[in-house]
Symmetry: C3
Subunit: 200 residues, 3 copies
């Protein structure tokens, strides 16, 4: 499916940018930014496939993912001052990106025969673990621990997808609805500054 | 062996609680607590099996482990103020838990044909790496680096098990003795505040 | 090739020392130093092989690597005050070590059939990821993010090796040249305090 493949590459490109921007304000050099962009982009899918024992890893088997990452890093470097100010735009891309990667991750997990509960976790991992690795490397408490409903939105979308699948809804329809669920939950959370209750 | 299986699930349940409690005092939400509980519970065994190339991972192949984790997280949430005060009780459960997981980890490693030295390391990893992942995620110096004899006790128990195995001691007897070695070393260390020498 | 095998063991030995020294000044005990030495020594190669799905891992299949690590840790403990002052000497060993591991990592990746671009990344990972894991565990911003040209030198050497390989240069000649490229870039960078531009 060509559209899906294009979206995967575009998502990888944006994840690379988000990682390459993560070291702003730290004493780090350009290599560190590129390296962090790379790990952020591959982290979630790589963890999912290593846990599932599914080889070769996507970015090792298909070189286009590496090129998408390199392009993302180069764009970040050239337009550094510019892209680092586009916070709002990035939030939008990020939201669509995590929504899309969640559902792809669920499908990938189902395709190797795991149970739906595990597939839901793998979907969420695909979307968020790149960011968790990025934050751990750069010595931050992972942003998913702090910010408005994020990973929870991915989990909700994954569960939505798996539920509709039980009713044998058409895959493309299901994809649209489930991605929509994630995007809507996330955007509402940002708009109204919703977050889960904090620990005492 | 039904008792062993039950103990594995119970150990997973307690590891999930210990992880879910780890973010106390940090600016984190309930999702972060659940997520950390999950990674703490699966971390050690998952690392062991990924290093050994032993698939499917235990919690992916058997859904009951996921349910044990979810239960642990829910119990933590409901009884939050209560369980977070039970430090002493938890230390006891934790001690029995790491002892048990160490020996199971050793056996699992031996079952895929590695040498005893490697099996000892894998046993220790099974017991402690969930906690190391938990502490790294939450930006702490791993607690095993600081506290009274802990990982060392696991390593001692693993070596004890492997030594007795050489003499073809009955497995159940060996299990009891080796788990006992870990528990006794750990409890003595806590009681008398023993620790290995600090670095200068 | 006996020389190569000896060099691999020696490199592992020195990586273990560098890891065992990493906790100086932190509140950590001797076990923590040994543990960090172990993870530093195996980290890069292990990550490479897990990503490639290449089992068994080197140090699991060949016990001599574990012995080299244990020896490195013991030497560190016995000569602690002494080796911790040998910063300059270590920098030299470290430079030769990462150069050598980079090229071995590239060859290992090529041997399982990945593309050269991926092999270059795997070579760099082999050399640097042990240190990244060490720094993440000990709560530091990875040193490769901060210090003089380091990972970049590895990447340059990997690309050099892969380029010369295209021209079917003799492997041993290529090995020498590519290792030399890494060593020279790194030493010049240290000598003249060269680093990549910092992020704004």
């Amino acid at each position: 499916m060509d559209l899906q493949y294009a979206l995967e590459l575009i998502g990888t490109f944006f994840f690379a940018i988000s990682g390459a921007l993560a070291l702003q304000g730290k004493e780090a050099d350009w290599f560190a930014a590129a390296f962090t962009g790379f790990l952020t982009a591959i982290g979630g899918g790589t963890l999912r496939d290593v846990l599932l024992g599914s080889y070769p890893l996507v970015w090792i088997g298909d070189i286009n993912f590496l090129y998408a990452i390199i392009l993302g890093v180069i764009v970040t470097f050239i337009l550094y001052g510019f892209v680092s100010r586009l916070k709002r735009t990035f939030m939008l891309f990020d939201t669509v990106g995590i929504a899309f990667f969640t559902i792809l991750g669920v499908e990938k997990a189902l395709s190797v025969g795991v149970r739906p509960e595990i597939a839901a976790i793998m979907g969420m991992f695909t979307a968020i673990m790149g960011g968790v690795i990025r934050d751990t490397l750069t010595n931050e408490l992972p942003v998913i621990f702090r910010k408005e409903i994020y990973a929870t939105a991915c989990l909700a979308g994954a569960i939505c997808y798996l539920s509709l699948r039980l009713f044998e809804i058409d895959r493309n329809v299901n994809l649209l609805i489930s991605i929509g669920v994630i995007v809507v939950i996330r955007l509402l959370a940002v708009k109204f500054r919703l977050s889960l209750p904090k620990l005492k």
